[in-house]
């Protein structure tokens, strides 16, 4: 699993500054910050396996039919911003280019030694976390991304020639623009996509109750005063679809697995909020993963006496797209959603139905509590939060971001006698997400002990520079750290080496996200003083 986060970008006092250029400066500044003196030009992104128009429902969108903002796989023609709503083989040889490809600022890219990718997506700097195997690691490398953005901001501000740039980990500007925080989950391809989409949708629509980060303003342009649970609800317009920049869907169908497509798909979810609260990120990734695990085991569960398929199918919502907004606006968590079979349930009750299925599924065929502690921590926390949200939401203020934000906003309204349309409340919402601790409301709460943390700052500092050890991100990050001058390009599922004296570039595919780990190649990396030795070792041992 992993998280991609586009950050809001602002040049204080310079409203006309070009956001693509600012984003590019964020990326190139960070790249310069971490580059060794005398290093070769930065490794480029390898777009060979990217296919943003492949649809999981089994067809392929023609390039000419796609909105220009969907064409994200051609670095020569960077994809423009979307419309704003007014309302397993071994190394292979690759020909060496005669000249280095032009370093287009709008295609600025940096492959980090922690296995992440920092680049410009449309008009925002984006941090795509390395692949991780559990929600705690997802939190760790997501927070590491906040510190990467902070380092870039500090470096630009400290530079006499760079612009002052401030970055925000949010998803809306309150004027109609929205930018994404996307989650990715590796899912067994044996699970038919239609089943996956149908059975996960009621869960996704209702998980906002614990995953939302809160937003001041209602409607895409925020023109109606009020507070809602999530940043993104007003920008979700379809139940299922390929687009991410327009007609945004609850379940995205981009079929670009970045892995062996016979074995896996990558479920790409675009409806979630950027979260600063670690518990929110932890539970969002953890609970979604648990639901997907159930969906991957429907047949096995049926045989074991857990009719998960039928029980989850019965939760089908009559109007899922409308319900995304309904749940987001239901700040007292009492509104009833109409199900396709005519029943009505609250969002909390839908979530409780999912926890019930997951708990019985784990008891029937899952790992035991002693063998997989993290899975059960997720389940226990999920149930605990749902129960407390139902009886005393304020008791969740240390864990649920929208609850904490709303509590502060209500306090401000009470103390200062202001209403929901007051700019002070909007300002608090925006400043909540400033990456600079001294300017961030979130960091003030953190310093006051008002927010629960799941990872400590030493571990975060380590994760800024080092990859997770149990996925292929380990290989990507380690080769960037060890042989930066000999990596020509990399992507999620490949690294291309440029070994001095070799006739051609050497491409190492990494189609299995769970290989290239420290357990697989740690000792080979230790023994390889350069990329040539590493490649020789890989050829001798195809298992890496």
């Amino acid at each position: 699993m992993g998280i991609e986060t586009e950050y809001g970008v602002l040049a204080p006092g310079r409203p006309a500054a070009n956001p693509m250029l600012l984003s590019s400066q964020v990326v190139t500044t960070y790249r310069a910050l971490v580059a060794r003196a005398g290093a070769r030009p930065a490794a480029r992104w390898d777009y060979d396996d990217e296919d943003p128009l492949a649809d999981a429902r089994g067809f392929h969108l023609r390039r000419a039919s796609a909105h220009p903002s969907m064409l994200t796989d051609d670095p020569a023609v960077p994809a423009p911003a979307g419309p704003v709503q007014a309302t397993a083989p071994g190394p292979s040889q690759v020909a060496r280019p005669d000249v280095d490809e032009a370093d287009d600022p709008s295609a600025a890219n940096c492959i980090l030694t922690n296995g992440a990718r920092l680049y410009v997506d449309h008009a925002h700097p984006e941090y795509s976390s390395p692949e991780v195997t559990g929600p705690r690691d997802a939190v760790l490398w997501d927070v590491a991304g906040e510190r990467v953005m902070l380092a870039a901001t500090r470096s630009l501000t400290g530079s006499p020639i760079g612009p002052d740039v401030v970055l925000y980990k949010n998803n809306v500007d309150g004027k109609g623009a929205s930018y994404g925080t996307h989650e990715n989950y590796l899912v067994d391809r044996a699970l038919p996509f239609a089943v996956l989409a149908a059975l996960v949708t009621p869960f996704l629509v209702t998980r906002q109750v614990f995953a939302g980060s809160g937003r001041v303003g209602l409607g895409p342009t925020g023109d109606r005063p009020g507070f809602q649970l999530t940043q993104r609800a007003d920008y979700i317009e379809a139940e299922i679809g390929l687009e991410t920049t327009l007609r945004r869907p609850i379940v995205n169908t981009r079929d670009e697995p970045h892995a062996d497509r016979d074995r896996w798909r990558r479920l790409h979810l675009i409806l979630g909020d950027a979260n600063l609260f670690e518990v929110a990120t932890y539970l969002k990734l953890g609970t979604t993963s648990l639901v997907l695990w159930v969906l991957e085991h429907l047949d096995e569960l049926a045989e074991a006496g857990v009719p998960a398929r039928d029980e989850l199918a019965a939760l089908r919502l009559a109007d899922p797209v409308g319900d995304v907004r309904r749940v987001s606006r239901d700040i007292d968590l009492v509104g009833k959603l109409e199900l396709a079979d005519g029943r009505t349930l609250t969002a909390l009750q839908v979530q409780e139905a999912y926890t019930d299925v997951v708990a019985r599924a784990l008891a029937a065929i899952g790992p035991r509590r002693d063998d997989d502690a993290e899975t059960y921590v997720v389940l226990d926390r999920w149930r605990s939060l749902l129960e407390r949200l139902g009886t005393d939401p304020e008791s969740c203020a240390r864990e649920v971001e929208w609850v904490a934000k709303r509590r502060l906003l209500e306090g401000l309204r009470r103390r200062d006698g202001i209403d929901w349309d007051h700019p002070r409340l909007h300002a608090l919402d925006l400043q909540w997400t400033d990456v600079r601790p001294e300017r961030s409301i979130y960091h003030r709460l953190l310093a006051s002990g008002a927010v629960e943390r799941l990872v400590d700052e030493d571990a975060v500092a380590d994760a800024v520079h080092h990859p997770p050890t149990d996925t292929r991100a380990y290989f990507r990050g380690e080769v960037m750290a060890r042989y930066p001058d000999q990596v020509s390009a990399a992507s999620w599922d490949s690294v291309i080496f440029d070994v001095p004296g070799a006739a051609a570039l050497q491409r190492v595919p990494m189609l299995d996200p769970l290989r290239g780990t420290r357990a697989h190649i740690g000792s080979l990396l230790e023994a390889s003083h350069d990329a040539a030795a590493l490649l020789k070792g890989l050829r001798g041992d195809r298992s890496a």
């Binding site: 956001p19 449309h122 705690r136 929205s178 997989d372 921590v377 502060l408 909007h426 769970l514």
Partner: protein, 65 residues
């Protein structure tokens, strides 16, 4: 984590410290809560933009994703 570790379930690098403790929240009494919030508001007052209206108006982004 069930669902993401099907090939490599041992999690051999983990120690018990790596895992997150179960929640143990203590709900404060209701009257304490307003006081808590007021204390937090005092904490953030000097962070909040003094010209909120101008700041909010100037926060303009392009669409993304």
């Amino acid at each position: 984590m069930a669902g993401q570790e099907r090939i490599n379930p041992q999690n051999e690098d983990r120690t018990p410290d790596d895992d997150v403790d179960p929640p143990a929240p203590a709900a404060p009494a209701a009257q304490d809560r307003d006081a808590d919030v007021d204390a937090l508001l005092d904490e953030i007052d000097d962070v909040l933009e003094s010209n909120a209206e101008q700041f909010v108006r100037g926060f303009v982004q392009k669409g993304g994703e």
